[in-house]
Symmetry: C3
Subunit: 168 residues, 3 copies
Amino acid sequence: MALKTLIFSFLVLSFHTLTTAATADQPSFFVRSIDREMTEKKENYSHFRFYWQDIVGGANATSIPIIESIPKFNLTSTFGLTRVIDNALTVGPNRTSKLVGRAQGFYVSTSQTEYDFLMIQTFVLFEGVYNGSSITFLARNPINEKVRELPVVGGVGRFRFAKGICSC
Amino acid sequence: MALKTLIFSFLVLSFHTLTTAATADQPSFFVRSIDREMTEKKENYSHFRFYWQDIVGGANATSIPIIESIPKFNLTSTFGLTRVIDNALTVGPNRTSKLVGRAQGFYVSTSQTEYDFLMIQTFVLFEGVYNGSSITFLARNPINEKVRELPVVGGVGRFRFAKGICSC
Amino acid sequence: MALKTLIFSFLVLSFHTLTTAATADQPSFFVRSIDREMTEKKENYSHFRFYWQDIVGGANATSIPIIESIPKFNLTSTFGLTRVIDNALTVGPNRTSKLVGRAQGFYVSTSQTEYDFLMIQTFVLFEGVYNGSSITFLARNPINEKVRELPVVGGVGRFRFAKGICSC
């Protein structure tokens, strides 16, 4: 059982920009206070949508088991199965449609009774101003439920301090 | 060494409700802005308490190793040991007390000198209005310390944008 | 390929202190509301800097493989390789400089084409008022890029409700 192609649609609710003075020539320190005036704050609400391509077999597999499922659950929920992924994120459902980013991380089958995956991954984007920015997820994905949400737990680049919800 | 039964008591400090217009019949897009007026914001402070049942052996084990500890640490801190879990969350300390949810995820033994587990898991709840809502944790759990805290890093459903602290 | 010594410089933007009445003698409950007046809120902006010592071999290794890389990627990106760590955090670049904390967790090689590690770890600090407090990270670390950022996704102790960015 693999997840195959999923649409990820995510709402990013806010992020802030933080600027600090250069510290390169400062003496070594463990902790110091930051002047709050040195921070700038901006909020943006955006909605992204793209396709997550989970290629689980063949010469070009991008989703590969690193831990096999516990034998007792091999034929049912695949409890314990863990796949590492470097999946394409594309603008359309076809694998050959425009690549907008990659999903890197892993997912673990964490139910003894149904297909339910704990997904730990980063979406790094390549498009325009988002090039190099990434969003981090940590959430269960009970794939037989119609509506599933995954919380965004962090981000960097354009997504610094992002909060959000990802639906798939 | 296993964690066995722990009381998890967690404080959820806030969450927001976000509503957006249906997007099903929209043409494909990668990113768009969201009208801030489309979001509603509510905050709730709640305190949950339940028992986490880590059954590590027997025919009904719900906590099963997927990676063994590094041999050098087998008899001490179990460094490297990783267990996948689908543990019951119950209202009381007995395994047979009312089931209020499940803890799904895994934990990794991450100290060379003491019992200290990095816990990556989702608590999905079944009770009343919380049915299907979940909270995600990512934290170390140094089990020989009296007071331990685990940060809530995300949530969905009733726990969208949750912040919180879990004590165990 | 291992990460070796990295400087971690992180900005912690805010945290709150939450106090609640003792609950020890209360009857069992699943959920209850919290009086918002019982919470106190403080914000602090701080900048920490220290060195992360990834000792990958020898008798004193603190970073040890628990999953080997997928054979096809052994000699390139080490896709799939997973190391559990209990690394020293030191105030200076030398391993023998003052120990200020430990980095506990693991990292997974998550790219098929470059060295890019998903890092899931907690930094627990020992210094002064920070003793026992910890910060949790979840982020990709594309080690050949000049500037890398890792989002702080949670914290406990002094870092309750922390937000922040870690550069390395």
